[in-house]
Symmetry: C2
Subunit: 387 residues, 2 copies
Amino acid sequence: MEVRARAPGKIILAGEHAVVHGSAAVAAAINLYTTTSLRLHPAGEGGGADSGVVELDLRDSGLTFSWPCSQLRGVLREESGRVGVPTPCSPDQLAAIAKLLEGHEIPEAKIWLSAGLSAFLFLYTSILGCRPGKAVVTSDLPMGAGLGSSAAYNVSMSGALLTATGAVGVGGGDGAEEWELFGKHDLELVNQWAFQGEKIIHGKPSGIDNAVSTFGSMIKFKKGEFTNLKSRNPVKMLITDTRVGRNTKALVAGVSERASRHPEAMASVFHAVNSISEELSSIVELAAEDEIAITSKEDKLSELMEMNQGLLQSMGVSHSSIETVLRTTLKYNLVSKLTGAGGGGCVLTLIPMLLANIVLDKVTTELESHGFRCFKVEVGGQGLQVS
Amino acid sequence: MEVRARAPGKIILAGEHAVVHGSAAVAAAINLYTTTSLRLHPAGEGGGADSGVVELDLRDSGLTFSWPCSQLRGVLREESGRVGVPTPCSPDQLAAIAKLLEGHEIPEAKIWLSAGLSAFLFLYTSILGCRPGKAVVTSDLPMGAGLGSSAAYNVSMSGALLTATGAVGVGGGDGAEEWELFGKHDLELVNQWAFQGEKIIHGKPSGIDNAVSTFGSMIKFKKGEFTNLKSRNPVKMLITDTRVGRNTKALVAGVSERASRHPEAMASVFHAVNSISEELSSIVELAAEDEIAITSKEDKLSELMEMNQGLLQSMGVSHSSIETVLRTTLKYNLVSKLTGAGGGGCVLTLIPMLLANIVLDKVTTELESHGFRCFKVEVGGQGLQVS
């Protein structure tokens, strides 16, 4: 039996950085997915459960890892297997996992790898115990670019594992759709497990990335509270990955320092961002039935994006690569906004419904001539799906 | 007898656009001057007062104009000659001036010319009556670029005319300085006359441009009230004129429309700008005695400029030419901000005291390669001076 689960990446539509200072922010799913294909080996195959192996094939990076099932016992806890109650990875488990990684050669350039393998080993053993099996992971998402690649990894992995164990499942549709959706209750469970994986990778994640990847659409978050938004008329955007690496912690600290140097001005800046996020939240939930309505919705969105970008620049988190994207898209009358931490990373450009493809191609070509990588995406679509 | 009076241009350091919505703004004098050299013909020369001519030589544009004194009588009012009480140009005077212009060929491309000639004829006749004389005007300032060229013209002209008539005068220094300053009372009088000239050119000027050009240094203005700031340690800036023409009225209207579409967010944006202008006002008045203190002052200024620029972008008054300047200077780690209306026009770049000349040369060359025109200026220096 093979289970395939795919989970989307995310963008921050509004409110990054300001959210740290109490403003609302809005995150949205994008149709770039990480897909986990999981095949459990039948008992007995390869010498039975205890003598089988658990394999992880990270297809995009050409790396595969395998562990004899017998070695995985050390990671298990007494309560392991109670998949209905996601539990955090204990220090003992983490130590056992670290031991499992010792024998493997991990390329220095791939610093994310240890964390990703640890999350895999934790989720696999917590949900499936020591059953032999193989997970193949592929992804459309660039890593470390702020598009939620680790959350999509944890969500698709958790979704595949929980489906394989029977803890969650799709209603068994008519088979007309390749990909099927889970019910809300099942999604909650997947989301909680994915969050445990995120904690292994990030330490103290906000939980917003895995929530967006699991539930899809858009989520408004403010002071730790999430509100699911029903996004109508998904918008198209161009995501430009500047490929400039960022130090998110330093950027966040820089904004806080600026806020302490200019408390009054920065409080107003954060307040302006809050208003923008709230306004954007109500706009995305409006249904637009015709071209005129969609165009006017796009105009509002692009104005709010432009305002938010200006405010991010006033926080000091822009970067010359971001300015290059802004300047390039502005030539074509398109509005752009950095997404995520800034200081490089990714930039969003709203693609109006009525924009000619030839213009979009020209912008893309020009952006890519700077060494950037562009993705044309739909924003606010589905979350976790299985097939 | 020849009188030379020179008056500086201005930049807006902080608060443009937001000032229309009640925020504070800060304007500063720059060491780019408009100079008026005035020579009165002795009575009898050229056939006596009534048969002499009044000439205006706009040296930079190669245009000269002259009017027989006898024709100027129509512009005079009963109270003309009471130079101590500046009075606005009456509709009758304006009509008489329009008649005086009829016989002159005014190139179509020079739309500012009629207004400039009108202001000259009004100021000349109001202050000197029909005495024959010649005024030669030269200027370092680009016209229509938001650097206060018309105010500098009116202030230098008023300063020269009032000095010639003896209504104002310098104390008669030791002659060691080429240029001498007026006393406060005299400056007030020049400023009021210059304001009358500004009204002829602009209709409803705020009065800030002529005030900065007259008094120099920096002025904070908020809700129609002016506060003179004592700027210490004048800063150096690079002014880049993008040569992109702007429609100031449309830009101001655009911000107001955005404010009515997004009242809450924009109110916060304007409030943030107000905080920046207030903070900047207190920083420029701080005396910095050593390099470390000056450097830290520059750091604060450039951070406030960056914040203000971001807020201007969130108001939607940037332009691709401005973005090009920002991106170019950012490559050299220099902070820039549009000044004035935006949508093209001029951009300020703070030049840190410790910046190597070779770097400044490189930035300038790169900016000029885009077709921009750069001016290296000192900000916050003297106002009107005579020699």
